[in-house]
Structures are given as structure tokens and as C-alpha cells.
């Protein structure tokens, strides 16, 4: 078969490593609008729901029963269901309708109604809706911190760095379940070293997770998974009642909880009942709300590749985030699993949560490299930190983190690694050596760490889990070994646990260890001039990427002493004969001494003059003061040239060959790619100018095309040009110059 070279190249692009599939509603492989999705309806008799979404009460499954008794506000439902879905969609996108007005009505909407509302919205409208319906005013971010070695010093160091970068929550998990208490401990100590008030969790099996929380090792849990069909729920070994009870059990121990749901899980488990992913997610979310969870982690989560294989998948994932926020739930909006091989696609997908802002833009930004991520990837990871910081800076968007300096990172990592070393020593756990501390300080991944003997570690973990030692013992260990500040932060977490303020919707602790939640900092966005925008110090922090340089630094290396051999001798007159005028910019060889490409002005002059002389023409040097524009410099030179030919040369190295009868902005040859010009190019420019002056046939100088030059050097170009413009004297006529040098 005939093959297109282009199609062959496209076939090897990252995007074509993805799997794409056509919808199949019968298998639940459809993100929204399954032909089997029910129409919204509700019938209430004597304060009881007798029919919902086309299903009589006798046919209700456990989820329907839970939803009607715990999630639906029956006082509102009658009126709320009467309002057309499109009207809700319009209210969501309308900045003039405050979130409370919508939230009140949504409490009376059934799963099919919720699904029907978002059906009317495109992604831009959904993003407007999400910006308004998000429960906390200020967006935040969560980090994943794990490593395949399960090295305690590396976990602590990475957690500390994540805390310093601004993540409000840090989640870890285990490769070997028995490591759970140690991993939770390392994350606790690491985060509280980096910044007091970062919430932590260790994602493990439910009962073990609860035991870690009871021991005081974790402060939140988001492992409470729910599913949109009864059979999937039971396959997950839970019911809405068992999950709701678990939520209360966590809250009774002062632990913040968040449920987990997301499109695609039912289809993945083969029990989608022909329904669309979005409709099943609406059911999940009403279960989450009914169970009394303050929030949810949704946005397809670990199933993300499944909706992304289908048309409209990324839109549906945004729709589920929006649905959750409409229900008043804190949303930790996914972006936590590898969603694409293509960096274009993964970033485009992120924008749908990043631009409107969610309570947690990632429910796990991989603050470690992907290969160390035990959650299965992370759509963005530690190697994308700088990219992410720049995205925040580009759009003036608070993505929940800030740039940090390398020295700050090293300091905090060392401190955290030493703190966990001290706790291990004080609690008589297998020693962490100074070499391990040093490695964790500079490490990027597990690969940079020495191995540990796992057997004694696991045995110690079992003992630690079994005995009574809790965070009182940990605080004492920290106090005894000079980590009083870290102990104080853990103690304040204990006090906060007593106050229980952080169990309220979307609660986090800010940089001052103050709780911020939907209660004391509710989202109040109603269009321009309202709600949250990063300003003041926060905007300064986001701007201050270490890569940003002071503008003066771009020009300094190009400044120099005036060329002693280049002397201005008087007003320039019109010349005669076959001369070439070399017209210099006002700063050339004076305020500036090098081109943008680093070539000495003196060498450039010599090269051009050599070229002119080699062709047998005469050169005359003229300084232009009234303009810094390359075309103007060249054109004025041409009008003064006896042959009508001149070379215009700016200090940054941009050159033009001009002819007096051409329009000022036209030219014979233009060399705008000054960074690519070499000494031999300048000589060639001299040669060609001379040939034009002598009337010889001339082949234009070929210059290598470097499309990246402008991208790399535009700031320097602008600042060098500005420096030259500083030297402009509008009333100064061109001056004749003498260059005390003769070509060979």
C-alpha cells in the first residue's frame, strides 16, 4: 500500500499511543446521553418519594433508596424539578445569579435532572459554572508523595518540599501494606517540617486507614469510594450505609473525609446497566452528599483513560466536577492519574479545572517523579513543576503552589530527613544513617537512595502499629532531638483536631495555620470584580520563578568601552563614486560593544570593511544619531552614499543592505536574524554591498533560519534595542567617522 510520509510521522506521535473507541451504550461505554438514561421525574406522596426518574419505588435499588431518604430535599424537589433544565444551565453560566440561589434549588434535583442540566452546557459554560459553584473562595492543590523503595527519609524530604511548594494536602500510599504506619509517619513529619497545617493521609484499605487516623498519624481520608450502581457498590464491598458510617467514624476521631467517585468505574467493573457514565456519577454524588461527606474526589480519577477513549470524555469529566460543586461538595478534581501520552492533551485537559479553579485542582499532583508514584502515575509530576509554575504565572491563576529556590528546597529536605532520622532513633526503630539523610536531601527519586533492609523495617512497622505509641510519643521524640518547631506544628494539628473546624466543607489551613473553608471563606464569585484572584503578595510569589531575571542583566554583557579607533570627525556629506556607506546605529561601538550574538563590534566592523575592500569598493563610515531603526539607518546611509548603496547596522547586529531609490522600508537584503550572523556573514554582507555598488551581479547572502532565536532572545532583543534608542539624539545630523584600521 502507498504510504504518506506525513501520515507515517503522525502515526508515531504520542497522541497515537492512546486508545480511542466508538461508543457502546449497552456496555456503558458512553460518557453522557445514553439512550437508556432515564428522563428526570419525581413524584412525592405524603412526604415520601413514590417514583423517581421514571422508576416506581418498588423498583428502587439501594442507591435510589438512600438518595430519596438522605440526599433529596423533598421540600424543594417539587418546585426544583419543575424548572426546565436549560434554565438551570443558563443560571450556572450567568454571573448575575449567585451560587446560593442555584445551590438551594439543586438540593431538590434527582440524578437524571442533574445529568439533564449539564447536557445543555459546553465546556466554557461549565467552567464559568465551576468558577462560581466551587465552595471555597481560594483554590488549592493536593500532592502525592510516595516512592517505590518506601524510604522514610525520602518520603519525609519529598513531603517537606511539597509543603514548602504550597500543597495544602499530601497523600501517600503503600506498595507493601505493612509499611502504612511508617509511610504515614514520614509524611506527617515531612509536611509539618515544611509547613505547619498541611493535611495528610495514607491511602490504604478502609479499616487500616481508620486505625492510622485513630493513632493520630493522618488527618484526612479520601479512600471512601462509591459507585453508581448497586452491583458495583456491592462488588466494592460496601453499601451507602456502611460508607456513611465510616465517614462518621472518621469524623468522630477528628479526621476530615472526602469520598471518591468518578466516571468510568462502573463500566470498568462491567456493571454499568447500560447507563451513561455521567448519569451514574450523578447517582454517586447524591450518595456522597446523602452520606454527609463534606466533599468528593471526582473527575474520573484512576479511570480517566476510559472516558478519554470516548468522544466528549474530557467534557464529561468537567461536568462531573461541576455537578459535585453544584451539590455544595468540596471537589478534588482528579488530574491525578496518567491521562495521556501526549503533553498537549494532558495540559489541555488540565485547563478545564485549572482555569476556573477547584477546591483541589489535582487530587494528587505527583510531587515525585512518575516512576516513584505508587498511585499509578500522576498526570503532572515533579518533572513538570517548573512548567506548572509558569502556567500560573502566564495566566495569573492560583494553581495552589508557588515556585521555590533550590537552596530552600535543600534546606527543608535536609531538615525533614534529619527529623525522621531523630524520631526513628528516639522510638528505637531501625536506624536511618547520615548517608541516607544526605541522599534524601538531594534525591529526585528512589534511584538516588541507598537500599534499606526491608525485613527489620517491616517488623518494626508491625510493632509500631500494634503498640500504643501515638503522636504524643512522636512529639516527645522531636522535642528531645531539637525539632521543637516540628513538634509544635504536630501539636497544633492536635489542637485543631479538638476544635474540628477542618471537618467543614473544603477546609484547609492557610500559610498562617488558620482554617479556611466554605464556612469562613465561601466562594463569592459573581463575575469580574468579585471572588478570588491572586493579588498582592500571593501574585508576587507566583511571579517570582527563580528563572526570571532582572531586565538590566540582559544588557550588561553587551555594554563596553567606546571603540578608541572609531572617531566621529564632523557632519557627513553626500559622497561620490562607487562607495559603500556603512551606517552605524547610535550606540554601536559606544554604549554597546557586542552584538546580540556576542560578536565584538570592532570585529564586525573589520569583517564588513574587509568584504567591501576585497571587491575593490571604497567604504565610508557614518554614524546615525536621529534614529535607532535599522531600515532608517540604512536608508539615510544610502541617501548619503555616492553609489546609493549602504549597509545599515544596529548595535545588536541586525543589518540591512539599502539602496537610495527604494522605499524606506524596502531593502536589497535584510539580515533580521542577528543572533545567527557570524563574522563571515558580516564579511559576505560587505562583499554583496560592494558588488551592488559596482553594479556586479550578486547572489543574496544565505543565512541559516533559526525559528527558535526569536523565542530565546526576544527579551534581549527588545532591551538591546531600547538601550540603543536611549542614545538617539533627534536633532543630531549624521556624522562622518574615521575607523583607524586598514584591511589586509
Amino acid at each position: 500500500m502507498e504510504r504518506s510520509i506525513r501520515f507515517g510521522l503522525l502515526a508515531n506521535r504520542d497522541i497515537n499511543k492512546e486508545t480511542f473507541v466508538e461508543p457502546w451504550p449497552e456496555a456503558g461505554l458512553i460518557v453522557a446521553d445514553s439512550p437508556y438514561d432515564p428522563q428526570p421525574s419525581v413524584s412525592i406522596e405524603e412526604g415520601k418519594v413514590v417514583e423517581m426518574d421514571g422508576k416506581p419505588r418498588a423498583d428502587f435499588d439501594a442507591l435510589d433508596l438512600f438518595i430519596v431518604s438522605h440526599a433529596l430535599d423533598l421540600d424543594v424537589a417539587g418546585a426544583a424539578m419543575e424548572i426546565p433544565s436549560k434554565e438551570y444551565a443558563r443560571m450556572l453560566a450567568d454571573i448575575n445569579v449567585p451560587r446560593e440561589d442555584i445551590a438551594r434549588l439543586i438540593t431538590g434535583c434527582t440524578p437524571a435532572k442533574l445529568t439533564d442540566i449539564v447536557r445543555h452546557m459546553n465546556v466554557l459554560e461549565m467552567m464559568m459554572g465551576l468558577a462560581k459553584m466551587r465552595v471555597r473562595r481560594v483554590p488549592a492543590n493536593q500532592a502525592h508523595v510516595t516512592n517505590w523503595r518506601e524510604h522514610p527519609a525520602l518520603l519525609a524530604a519529598d513531603a517537606a518540599e511539597a509543603a514548602l511548594r504550597g500543597f495544602a494536602e499530601v497523600e501517600t500510599t503503600v506498595r507493601v501494606a505493612r509499611f502504612a504506619p511508617f509511610n504515614a509517619l514520614a509524611i506527617l513529619i515531612g509536611t509539618q517540617t515544611g509547613r505547619g497545617g498541611v493535611l495528610t493521609q495514607c491511602s490504604v484499605e478502609e479499616a487500616l486507614g481508620l486505625r492510622l487516623a485513630m493513632k493520630g498519624l493522618t488527618s484526612y481520608a479520601e479512600t471512601l469510594s462509591v459507585y453508581g450502581t448497586e452491583m458495583t457498590f456491592v462488588d466494592g464491598d460496601d453499601t451507602p450505609w456502611s460508607k456513611a458510617f465510616l465517614a462518621s467514624a472518621y469524623a468522630s476521631r477528628g479526621v476530615k473525609i472526602r469520598f471518591t467517585s468518578g466516571t468510568g468505574s462502573e463500566a470498568l467493573m462491567g456493571r454499568a446497566e447500560q447507563k451513561s457514565m455521567l448519569y451514574l456519577e450523578a447517582r454517586c454524588l447524591l450518595v456522597v452528599k446523602g452520606a454527609g461527606s463534606q466533599g468528593v474526589q471526582n473527575g474520573s480519577i484512576s479511570c480517566i483513560a476510559l472516558p478519554e477513549a470516548l468522544p466528549g470524555g474530557v467534557r464529561a469529566v468537567l461536568a462531573e466536577n461541576l455537578l459535585a460543586s453544584m451539590l455544595g461538595l468540596e471537589v478534588a478534581s482528579g488530574n491525578d492519574a496518567l491521562a495521556s501520552h501526549s503533553s498537549i492533551r494532558k495540559t489541555a485537559k488540565l485547563m478545564l479545572q485549572f482555569i476556573p479553579g477547584t477546591d483541589f485542582i489535582f487530587s494528587g499532583y505527583s510531587a515525585i517523579p512518575k516512576r516513584d508514584n505508587l498511585f499509578g502515575g500522576g498526570n503532572f509530576d515533579a518533572e513538570d513543576f517548573d512548567d506548572y509554575n509558569v502556567l500560573q504565572r502566564d495566566m495569573q491563576i492560583d494553581g495552589g503552589v508557588k515556585p521555590i529556590r533550590e537552596d530552600e528546597a535543600l534546606d527543608i529536605r535536609r531538615k525533614a530527613a534529619k527529623a525522621i532520622q531523630a524520631v526513628y532513633r528516639e522510638l528505637d526503630l531501625p536506624a536511618i544513617s547520615d548517608e541516607e539523610v544526605a541522599a534524601a536531601t538531594v534525591a529526585h527519586s528512589s534511584d538516588d537512595m541507598p537500599g534499606r533492609d526491608i525485613v527489620p523495617d517491616l517488623e518494626a512497622a508491625d510493632r509500631f502499629m500494634a503498640d500504643d505509641s501515638d503522636f504524643v510519643a512522636i512529639m516527645q521524640a522531636l522535642q528531645r532531638s531539637g525539632f521543637g518547631e516540628v513538634a509544635d506544628n504536630i501539636l497544633e494539628m492536635g489542637r485543631q483536631r479538638i476544635a474540628a473546624d477542618y471537618l467543614q466543607p473544603a477546609a484547609i489551613f492557610d500559610a498562617d495555620f488558620k482554617v479556611q473553608s466554605a464556612i469562613n471563606d465561601p466562594n463569592n464569585y459573581t463575575g469580574p470584580g468579585s471572588g478570588y484572584r491572586p493579588q498582592g503578595q500571593r501574585w508576587q510569589d507566583i511571579q517570582a520563578i527563580p528563572q526570571a531575571k532582572p531586565p538590566t542583566g540582559f544588557v550588561e554583557p553587551h555594554e563596553g568601552e567606546p571603540l578608541s579607533r572609531l572617531v566621529e570627525i564632523g557632519p557627513a556629506a553626500r559622497g561620490t563614486g562607487k562607495e559603500v556607506v556603512l551606517a552605524l546605529g547610535p550606540a554601536f561601538g559606544r554604549a554597546l560593544g557586542k552584538t546580540i550574538g556576542g560578536l565584538e563590534h570592532e570585529e564586525v566592523l573589520k569583517a564588513i570593511l574587509s568584504g567591501i575592500a576585497g571587491e575593490g569598493a571604497v567604504a565610508r563610515i557614518i554614524r546615525i544619531y536621529h534614529s535607532s531603526d535599522c531600515a532608517a539607518i540604512g536608508f539615510v546611509g544610502a541617501r548619503l552614499s555616492g553609489s546609493g548603496i549602504a549597509i545599515g547596522l544596529q548595535s545588536r547586529g541586525t543589518a540591512v543592505i539599502h539602496q537610495k531609490d527604494l522605499a524606506p522600508l524596502n531593502n536589497l537584503e535584510l539580515f533580521s536574524q542577528s543572533p545567527s550572523l557570524t563574522i563571515s556573514t558580516y564579511e559576505h554582507i560587505g562583499v554583496n554591498a560592494a558588488r551592488y555598488a559596482l553594479g556586479k551581479p550578486t547572489v543574496p547572502v544565505s543565512v541559516k533560519i533559526d525559528n527558535g532565536a526569536r523565542l530565546r532572545l526576544i527579551v534581549k532583543t527588545a532591551l538591546l534595542h531600547r538601550r540603543e534608542t536611549d542614545e538617539v539624539r533627534p536633532d543630531q545630523a549624521p556624522l562622518e567617522c574615521l575607523f583607524d584600521w586598514e584591511p589586509d
Binding site: E100, T239, L491, Q496, Q504, A518
Partner: protein, 137 residues
């Protein structure tokens, strides 16, 4: 004086004087010195039912009735020991308990811990499990 919703929130800042731990120790005694002297135990850093009840009121006033219900049930569960909590959760999972076992569990929670809201919740689960075939066979 009429208080606005969430008037005392955050309690950590606005009601610190009223806060005490599960062990009835006032927040003012939860200090680094007390930790260093070994005066504190785990229960001194656990949440008291009263704080959860206050959070329930705050949540209800702010328009989060289901969350308030969760906090009320949690308040009742503060006095239920860890092991029992884990057992109750296990019994509520699918096909773990008979209707009678769940009913007995509800009665026990109500009589032993005064946990009437949890009891009602578990009785409702028992009914639904029977209806949906989620009881132990």
C-alpha cells in the same frame, strides 16, 4: 444577640476557651510543656463530642444539613472504642449481618452509648438490606 451562621467559627480562634479534649482537658492545657513532661496521652488530643455537635450546628446553619447529620452521628461515636467502631463498620458491609444482628447492634449502640441517631441509621440499613437482599444469607 442573634449570631450569624458560623458565628463562632472557627472555634479554634473564637471559642478556644470552651474547647476541651475527649479526656475533658481544656485546650489551654494542651501545651508543648505538657507534652515534654509526659502529661498528655492520646485522649488529650482527641475530639470531644461537644465540638462535633457545635460543628453540626454550624454546618446546618450554613446550609449543609447532611454534613450536620454526619457530625451528629460522629459526636455519638466519640465514646465508642476503636475496635468496636471497626466491628460495626464490618457488620454494615454487604452480606455480613442478619437483620436481627443489625437490629441488636442498633439497640446496643443506643443503650450503651446513647447513640440514637446511629441506631436509627443502622435500623434503616437493616430494612433496606432486607429489601435489597444485602443481608447475610
Amino acid at each position: 444577640m442573634h449570631e450569624k451562621p458560623g458565628g463562632k467559627y472557627p472555634l479554634r480562634d473564637n471559642a478556644a476557651g470552651d474547647l476541651r479534649s475527649y479526656s475533658e482537658r481544656p485546650l489551654s492545657e494542651i501545651t508543648a510543656e505538657a507534652v515534654a513532661k509526659g502529661e498528655l496521652s492520646g485522649d488529650d488530643l482527641r475530639t470531644h463530642a461537644d465540638a462535633l455537635r457545635q460543628q453540626a450546628r454550624i454546618a446546618r446553619d450554613a446550609g449543609y444539613p447532611q454534613l450536620a447529620g454526619n457530625f451528629s452521628r460522629a459526636a455519638e461515636l466519640t465514646s465508642v472504642p476503636n475496635d468496636e467502631l471497626l466491628k460495626i463498620y464490618e457488620l454494615l458491609r454487604p452480606e455480613r449481618a442478619t437483620h436481627e444482628e443489625l437490629t441488636r447492634l442498633a439497640d446496643y449502640l443506643e443503650s450503651t452509648y446513647g447513640a440514637s441517631e446511629n441506631a436509627a441509621f443502622i435500623r434503616e440499613a437493616a430494612e433496606t438490606y432486607r429489601e435489597r437482599n444485602l443481608l447475610r444469607r
